[in-house]
């Protein structure tokens, strides 16, 4: 096997759990979109350019309600604003990624972010790391677009009973949490997640859950930083 093919294969294996989640979810989006009675190409186009799971389901709702463009912009921005915090923790990781960087940023979904922050050591910033990260992003989007096409073209006539396949994403998040815990060996971020996650479920409406929980977690980490900051003046 050629080295190039080998490294694509390496990336593909890492994205397999995302594939199990994105194919059925993308198909569900395609089916939902087709019920609007709009031209079929809108669905794959959205998966190519918007590329946001929850965001595209929201878009279907907005299309169905004939929302105005300003409302569409604000709603999309609000729903996806949790991504603001993802970039914060990847600034260093993506530095020096060159021509791949814009695509790496564009393809930063929940699942891509999860895979990227779990796979490599943060110090490991060579070109190989960036290439792998870009390929993981591209393969994840490929699964999403393929799923969308399946749902759009086959519509509700899909014969396979795929109910429950999307649990793969839940399983992926569980596995990645265990891996993060094994690596970090500190309770702090998990206690913060438990507090803000359960708090958000109790207090916030469904569409603001993720943003609320992740925003609150970032805020608590900021407070923790202010309280426990090591004196930086020593090392100028």
């Amino acid at each position: 096997m050629s080295p190039a093919l080998h490294s694509w294969r390496h990336a593909a294996i890492q994205t397999l759990p995302v594939m199990f989640g994105y194919l059925p979810l993308g198909a569900a989006f395609g089916v939902l979109y087709m019920q609007l009675g709009l031209p079929w190409w809108g669905a794959p186009l959205m998966s190519l350019f918007i590329y946001a799971g929850a965001g595209q389901f929201l878009a279907v709702t907005l299309l169905a309600n004939h929302a105005g463009l300003v409302e569409v912009a604000v709603a999309s921005f609000m729903l996806n604003s949790r991504h603001l915090f993802y970039g914060l923790s990847l600034l260093k990781r993506f530095r020096g990624a060159g021509w791949r960087k814009p695509y790496m940023i564009f393809s930063l979904t929940d699942e891509t972010y999860s895979l990227l922050t779990s796979q490599a050591r943060q110090q490991d910033l060579g070109v190989a790391t960036h290439r792998l990260a870009a390929r993981i992003g591209a393969l994840n989007q490929l699964w999403w677009v393929l799923g969308t096409l399946l749902g759009t073209l086959a519509g509700a006539t899909l014969n396979i009973d795929g109910r429950g396949l999307d649990f793969a994403l839940t399983a992926l998040f569980i596995v990645l949490t265990l891996e993060q815990a094994a690596r970090l060996r500190q309770a702090l971020p998990f206690l913060i997640a438990l507090t803000t996650g359960l708090g958000a479920i109790l207090l916030l409406p469904e569409r603001h859950l993720l943003l609320g929980a992740i925003g609150a977690a970032s805020l608590l980490l900021l407070v923790h930083y202010r309280l426990h900051r090591q004196p930086q003046e020593a090392r100028t």
Binding site: N80, F167, T170, I174, Y225
Partner: protein, 114 residues
């Protein structure tokens, strides 16, 4: 809705979504080595991962009933999640844990509690 209106709609969604992803890189590109950014880079990913787990399990029956893909008792979700945890602590093979847990979940919701 005309084709042009649909294209405009998709364009606006695309820009708004990309903006949320690119803003930190544009606004804070010079701050990548700031201790606060390093602090967030260390602790935010595990916190987000755990929040995504809690989010994915939010339809568990005790909290909200009658949601998509969940039996009234939420038992399949609990069993399959436990299976993922046990498989992963046992073999530490990500693919095995995910395929095993998802397979169990599909069997439970399609055959045991249809």
């Amino acid at each position: 809705m005309s084709d042009l209106e649909l294209l405009a709609f998709i364009g606006v969604c695309t820009l708004a979504t990309f903006l949320t992803r690119v803003l930190p890189f544009v606004a804070l590109s010079r701050q990548a080595d700031h201790p606060l950014i390093l602090h967030l880079g260390r602790y935010l990913p595990p916190a987000v991962m755990a929040i995504l787990v809690i989010y994915a399990l939010r339809h568990l029956a005790p909290w909200s009933a009658g949601q998509l893909n969940v039996s009234p008792q939420g038992v399949p979700l609990i069993l399959a999640s436990l299976a993922v945890v046990f498989l992963h602590l046992w073999r530490r093979n990500a693919l095995l844990s995910i395929v095993g847990g998802t397979g169990l979940y599909m069997v439970l919701i399609q055959l045991v509690w249809p």
